[in-house]
Symmetry: D2
Subunit: 342 residues, 4 copies
């Protein structure tokens, strides 16, 4: 059994990580940390986990680097709010641990872009170059040997998976991309804010983060690499009354003469053997991917306007966060990529 | 008191019409009809209405033209599924009634377009030319004297209100328009279909009706008139887990040099005195318009791509159906446009 | 037009009060107060109200007694969290204002019971005797001339309305009453607490406040008065994933020989002419009372066990809070009791 | 790998069975049947299952006994609507198959009670005596060797698990039991009925099936066996706007002198080693048991009235249906009881 630790285990992504790793056939959870609940049993704070033999005796410890170095874990999952991963990643990597970070802190290759989108200097800029962008379908080889994997974000995964192979193959006009995405409320985290109250989100639908959502930076970074030219795109996220799930509707102009069937053929070649990408003939629905690590995708042709419409669905806590992190971990640890995820 | 009748009063739009008209200070409901519930008390079938003095004694009668001609109503609201309004509208108009149709049956000016989008010949094509498109903010004068008003649809209203003044003023590239819309489930009607069950729609989000939803025909008809050139656009509707509300996110390329402030100025001029259009500085949210006749709208500039993002929210049963129908009725009857609606 | 003020207008009950009073045909809102949003436009904080002519120019003022005395209002609605009404009610009543308090602060006649259930001394105990319990169906005459009305609470109203006439008539065993109630989440207030987040309440159902919820004190006070003997009962409230509504299921043993039809006859006599109590043959459903001031009630006989099952539904923000407060106000002001409420 | 077949695999319980059995480490699904979708791929109808290797090639076959006999399965799960299991169970058992029936058809030991509650004669009455009531915590030994197991129902499980040990130990007054239960909408099945539409169930809460719900018959049968005397109880089920989950609140009078701690000790003795019963200090919440096979339970003492309040939560499709069926199957097959369920 490989020992792992989870830092920030009481957020939604952290809890989902605990759920997945508690059932993982090759994992032992050596430590879980939480600033807020330090000293309490994990089952008191996350009662849903009670009864899973592998977590029964876990107690939240302090989120200190020293604890993590000494807990015996070889892999450390960081499930922290933005901006906090830096202070853990650097010393942990130096101490020989392999780190999977679920935050956005190490997803950008360029510290200037980080500053542009996040409004502050990066605290551990030297690690930006080393960190591998944790989207297994694109960077499997690099992930396998990485010390620090920056697990790809929820919105970005739902956009990059369908678009990257198409841009690489030159099937789309790179500057024509527009994405209208809808997320369930858990995507905002377990934060006690009035705007996230049940009665504020139920029977509500609203856009937010316009026009320059932070996740745009990592999407454009990867799209540009795929297209071989700098790509800028329009991205509008929305919040819908559901717990989990992201649905993305992407509009793009195909390169001259390109049709739906060529898009589907390109995806088939890229993802035909991928265990977690499902190429759908029907339109994706978040209910089919909730609590899974799948990303569903489909494409339609709008013949009247000549545009393509690409639709994807995933679980923001699954393939968009904890599931993806476990997939990255499986690759790093040399396990079957689907262990604990199917 | 002006007497009205409601045909198909037991659907969601019909029920909302009953709710609004039961409280309208100048209206008496003379008849409600339902094929399914003929002979039953309205309060048995729609218990929510019980206790409103004006509906206490209403019983669903048969949906026959002769009944409607003889019930004493001067105005007849048709709240029927697609394709059924034709057989009522023609004889009722001939009998001197004024008709407000909530269906799509009389919204197109051209029988060929009707056949293209609805797949069949129009049964009362001679009335297509006479019918007035029931969007008060655009056709107030024509509505005032019309015999037959085709009340504008839910998605179309959420798209036409923001776009028409901008196209008229030449502020947008007419062929650049893309709309990603989300509707609550009541928009699909009170139909016993598996896909509309609670457990199929809750924790679900999905697109449908791609790529050529029927409502596209009336939207493009009106956009083309406003732009002075044939407009085709991309339109993707989605279903979200909420009872009511439509949120539309519209992407468009501005004409050269046009900015957010010019869009806002154009709207201010067009709608500054409109009672049911709210120009918002914050982003619209369907919870703010649910159970109202308001349409909220805002615009943002995506400086990086040069696109405009326009966002609107309305209640699909309010400004998108029954509220709009009552607004049309108020205009036809010479009442204050806000009677029974604020 | 009668001038009113609303203290604490930015909570859920306060917002609902604003919505109702903005449409009330005989009311002018002279002032709204909020500690948190002092100086801001009401439409900025509560955007749903935008476009209602009567609130367009309102700005939240400080919640100071002096402001309220001088604002010109004759009636003051207090929509504050528990424990704060005392410091307003006393000086306002002394200054000649008539006060409708939506909190629980003045609902108990006995300061000792207050201390038992609320855990602290009452700050304005001298007013407990004067305050009238604001349940119009029971205390209409006293409310009409009261200076201070303690508007009845949400759970209590759903229990007292069905039970009081039955206990007065001796139709129930007084000590046999058990109530299992379910509330929508707005009942917990607009408080930024983790347990009230969307993702904590959606797909969740749980009991809380066991075994001695504070509202029990006012229920037992009024039941005891009706029965002529001290009544104690079991009360279990639950939270369900909906915005609004309370559903109460009450179990009781009938007095010897009493059947369903006698219960219904008793209710008919008590409530046959009441505008806001609906005696239903079908089982109540909160969706039929949401956003109304109605309380629906029905009874069933469990012949096998000899018990009666009484079921009620109301809107916790309507008949359970703001609607009831307006009904009390209408009585105090000598208006028609249904003004602004149907 | 043990071969199984699932009859009626396209209902909610059937789909959940497929989900669980597709991941079960010792199972191969040999056949799935559906009258409605015969000939179609399981992944077309239940797209959520796509990508699970073990179901990839499954096609719905006809629901004929002969097919099932010949498909090679040793265990047959029947997930059919009420009244249909009889025609399958008898010939399948005769053909040597072992049958787990998820319907209510074989849960009663007495054909007269069946007729009283279900209104018709039982079609396979001779099997009633042989069938074992499929509640593993109570009948583990009998289940192990049974040919036909009638898996216990959703509401019954949530009531029997807490009550049976208490009645066996004489801790409760047997005739004092009252249960107020709330179920998610999937409990009503995947039936195209208007009352189950999203917009009818969302923002709705209502009781149904009063006063003599069919499930009462099996509950009272088992309670009576436990108490050693005929028990009748009051049972009120409600429908709440959530997909999954049952919450039961049970009121009972303790035997003289019995307190909360004795109830908890009794449960500890009965369930301390049970893998799927969680004895909680906090109040149960359906969100903690959704998509699991756990039943959570807690008890509180209402000292003022002398009553006990018992609260349980389970997933109606998990421990209330498919999870329980798999647990029964594990016992019958001699597997670890938690295989495929933790």
């Amino acid at each position: 059994m490989t020992k792992v630790a989870i830092v920030g285990a009481n957020g939604y992504s952290g809890e989902e990580l605990c759920t997945l790793l508690a059932r993982h056939p090759r994992v032992q959870i050596a430590a879980v940390t939480s600033r807020q609940h330090c000293g309490k049993s994990i089952c008191e704070i996350l009662p849903r986990l009670t009864g899973l033999p592998s977590v029964a005796s876990l107690v939240f410890s302090e989120s200190r680097v020293q604890n993590l170095v000494e807990c015996g874990a070889d892999f450390i999952f960081l499930a922290l709010p933005h901006g906090l991963a830096g202070e853990y990643a650097a010393p942990l990597v130096e101490a020989g641990k392999r780190v999977i970070d679920l935050s956005a802190d190490f997803r950008l290759r360029d510290a200037d872009t980080y500053k542009e989108f996040y409004g502050e200097d990066h605290g551990a800029g030297h690690l930006l170059k080393e960190a591998v962008y944790g989207l297994p379908e694109l960077y499997r080889t690099e992930i396998a040997r990485a010390r620090l994997v920056a697990s790809a974000g929820c919105y970005p995964t739902s956009l990059l998976l369908p678009l990257i192979p198409l841009l690489r193959a030159g099937l789309l006009e790179p500057q024509s991309i527009i994405a209208s995405c809808v997320s369930g409320v858990s995507g905002a985290g377990r934060k006690a804010e009035t705007v996230l109250l049940y009665a504020e989100c139920n029977e509500s639908l609203r856009a937010y983060g316009l026009p320059k959502h932070r996740h745009l930076s990592e999407v454009e970074q990867e799209l540009s690499l795929a297209a071989g030219t700098k790509v800028v795109m329009t991205f509008v996220p929305h919040l819908a009354p559901m717990n989990r799930g992201i649905h993305s509707t992407i509009f793009a102009t195909p390169a001259a003469g390109i049709t739906r069937s060529q898009v589907e053929a390109c995806w088939q070649e890229a993802y035909g053997k991928e265990p977690f990408v499902r190429l759908c003939s029907a339109l994706p629905d978040v209910k089919n991917v909730a609590s899974t690590n799948f990303c569903d995708m489909a494409v339609r042709e709008d013949e009247r306007t000549g545009r393509l419409v690409i639709l994807t669905a995933e679980d923001n806590l699954g393939k968009g966060a904890a599931g993806q992190a476990v997939q990255n971990f499986n690759i790093m640890a040399g396990f079957s990529e689907t262990d604990g995820l199917l």
